[in-house]
């Protein structure tokens, strides 16, 4: 399956297992602009997979309500670049719901999915990586997969997780990345980074599309410079697995973090300052 098919498979599993699960967002009914929801409306009915008008703040606010009332809400924001009208809802409402109601209410059933990252021709408003903005907010979880196999497991974990989650899907990989993915549901734990390749000289950390870039870099470094790189996919941005990263840096003594988002205040700054 490629990435969008693995997402569809995950959503299919989620809707099959959880009768309260609903998917909504702009254009999801016909399958979505990236075909992540193809076939789901026919299979589960139009009361479970439905379109919303063009209103991100409304979509997320509505999703919070659905989640608080007890149903599982899977909201799609058409591009991560459009998530900003919903920023207030996510940061002020979703993230703090459980805390401010003293655990009486929560919107843990909410998962927000959005295509993320550069795609070559996206320019200002179809390429953004806003994970750093949300990382500053306690109460939510942010997850970014690097491949179809990872995406399905991580998405199912997000949907089942009892906290509001934001799941960013690297849009450039939707069709480009293909892997063998099991059809049955399976989970990949959140807040656990994955060491893809062990090494001894330097630790390379990335997430999403960049993981593939640093893998290539590690191979080139080994071949041309004889440098042994430890490659780590962070997977969950918030709460992030500082233990794995720090353990690795203690071993290698050097850390390089690569991400698509702007440098200043990007998530690499959080990782590097913690490691220091």
């Amino acid at each position: 399956m490629n990435l969008f098919q693995s997402i569809t498979s995950a959503l299919d599993n989620a809707l099959a297992k959880d009768p309260t699960a609903v998917i909504f967002g702009e254009d999801v009914a016909f399958g979505g602009v990236f075909r992540c929801t193809v076939g789901l409306r026919d299979k589960y009915g139009k009361d479970r997979v439905f379109n919303t008008p063009l209103c991100e703040q409304g979509i997320v606010g509505f999703g919070i309500g659905v989640a608080v009332a007890g149903a599982t809400a899977i909201a799609e924001i058409q591009f991560a670049d459009y998530i900003f009208p919903a920023f207030d809802q996510i940061v002020n409402e979703a993230a703090k719901y459980r805390y401010r109601s003293g655990d009486l209410f929560n919107c843990g059933n909410l998962t927000i999915r959005a295509p993320w990252g550069c795609v070559g021709h996206g320019a200002l408003y179809h390429s953004q990586s806003p994970e750093a903005f949300f990382a500053h907010c306690p109460g939510i979880k942010i997850v970014i997969p690097r491949s179809p196999l990872q995406a399905k497991g991580l998405l199912l974990s997000c949907i089942e997780d009892k906290n509001p989650c934001i799941f960013f899907e690297p849009k450039i990989l939707y069709r480009a990345a293909v892997e063998q993915v099991p059809v049955e549901p399976y989970n990949i734990p959140l807040s656990q980074a994955e060491v893809l390749q062990t090494g001894s000289d330097v630790t390379l950390v990335a997430w999403g599309t960049q993981v593939h870039v640093i893998k290539e870099v590690a191979a080139m470094a080994q071949e041309k410079l004889g440098v042994s790189c430890e490659v780590i996919d962070l997977r969950t941005i918030l709460p992030w697995d500082s233990e794995t990263i720090c353990k690795s840096v203690v071993k290698t003594g050097r850390l390089l973090i690569s991400h698509e988002a702007p440098l200043t205040g990007g998530f690499a700054s959080e990782i590097s300052s913690t490691v220091q």
Partner: protein, 374 residues
């Protein structure tokens, strides 16, 4: 003025002007609407025709260049909706202000940017109107504020421009455009409230082309009477395929604003032949028959042509000559757009901030620096 290449023709053959009956506009909270008759002079007709035809050919040329991969990125074409931007432009003054969303090539031209600069901007060359750094969705010129990518975000901006107009007291107004999809965004309603509260000279214009990307208006809006959505703001629904209807309605709305009566809302019922953008074939959510029907019955350029010929304001040959001149202009502009050099790499970091001393911007890694000058 129209630049018609007519060599030896007897102008006395043509009428100097004609009067036309227009469709009545639906009104909301208005006692009377714009005039249902309009007078169009020969010069005006030729001007509207040339402008609309230029926009039409420019958009088709962009389509061609996009398919040849000379234009990259996103491209949202305006063909079918030409009567809207032309009708609006001729009813306001160059000192008035216009702001719209991303389907902006027609407005950019109407507001005075030459075709070559528009096409060069699409191809990302330094001769483009935004120096090649904006592209399709970010074109600007004097009193035209773009060209905005985020749907609905330009509407509060438009109200702000209107406030500045009121504040400076120069009797200017602001035309704030958005589409039927954007009409469901929350910030639009926040803007309606502010504009009405402070009586801002703002004409809100909803270009209803029946589809918000791939979603038809019936499936997106609880009320498709977009001209009534302003609730406490008076509104009118206008036939957006008839350039004269748009012109008269805009004149009416402009007078309303200039008289200090506050904002007014116009819904232009129009249609786009292309899909939402160049990556959308435009037929998965509507039928080819529907597109064909609009093209044959309501095409704005054909409507104008028929009116002019039937009322002896111009001859078919004359209009054909205009077509030829327009085609030539577009070809030359496309030539320029494909051969002009791209902006130099030194300019990549410019204009991030407004600053006197130039500063350095980090590139994709710590060791690449760009100088930022403004």
């Amino acid at each position: 003025a129209s630049r018609v290449m007519v060599a030896s023709r007897n102008y006395a053959d043509f009428a100097s002007e004609a009067t036309f009956e227009l469709k009545k506009c639906d009104l909301h909270r208005l006692e009377e609407g714009p005039s249902t008759t309009a007078v169009m002079t020969r010069e005006e007709g030729l001007h509207y025709y040339k402008t609309m035809q230029t926009i039409r050919r420019m958009e088709l040329k962009s389509d061609q260049l996009y398919k040849q991969k000379i234009i990259r990125g996103f491209c949202h074409l305006y063909d079918g909706q030409e009567a809207c931007c032309v009708g609006l432009e001729v009813a306001i003054k160059p000192t008035d202000h216009v702001i719209t969303a991303y389907r902006a090539h027609g407005f950019t031209y109407a507001r005075g940017v030459p075709v070559r600069e528009i096409l060069a901007e699409l191809t990302g060359r330094k001769g483009g109107c935004a120096k090649g750094k904006g592209g399709s969705m970010h074109m600007y010129t004097k009193n035209f504020y773009g060209g905005n990518g985020i749907v609905g975000a330009q509407v509060p901006l438009g109200a702000g421009i209107a406030l500045a107009c009121k504040y400076f007291g120069k009797n200017e107004i602001c035309l704030t455009l958005y589409g039927d999809g954007a009409a469901n965004q929350g910030q639009i309603f926040e803007t309606y409230n502010m504009a009405a509260l402070w009586k801002l000279p703002c004409i809100f214009i909803c270009e209803n082309n029946r589809y918000g990307m791939g979603t038809s208006v019936e499936r997106a809006a609880a009320s498709t009477d977009y001209y009534k959505r302003g609730d406490f703001i008076p509104g009118l629904r206008v036939d957006g395929m008839d350039v004269l209807c748009v012109r008269e309605a805009t004149k009416f709305a402009a007078e309303h604003c200039r008289a200090g009566k506050g904002p007014i809302l116009m819904e232009l019922q129009t249609y786009r032949y292309h899909g939402h953008s160049m990556s959308d074939p435009g037929i998965s959510y509507r039928t080819r028959e529907e597109i064909q029907e609009v093209r044959s019955k309501s095409d704005p350029i054909t409507l104008l042509k028929d009116r002019m010929v039937n009322n002896n304001l111009a001859s078919i040959e004359e209009l054909k000559e205009i077509d030829v001149a327009v085609r030539k202009e577009i070809e030359e502009a496309a030539q320029f757009a494909t051969t002009d050099p791209e902006p130099p790499l030194e300019e990549l970091g410019n204009h991030i901030y407004f600053n006197e001393p130039p500063f350095e911007v980090r590139g994709p890694n710590q060791w690449i620096r760009y100088k930022s000058v403004s």
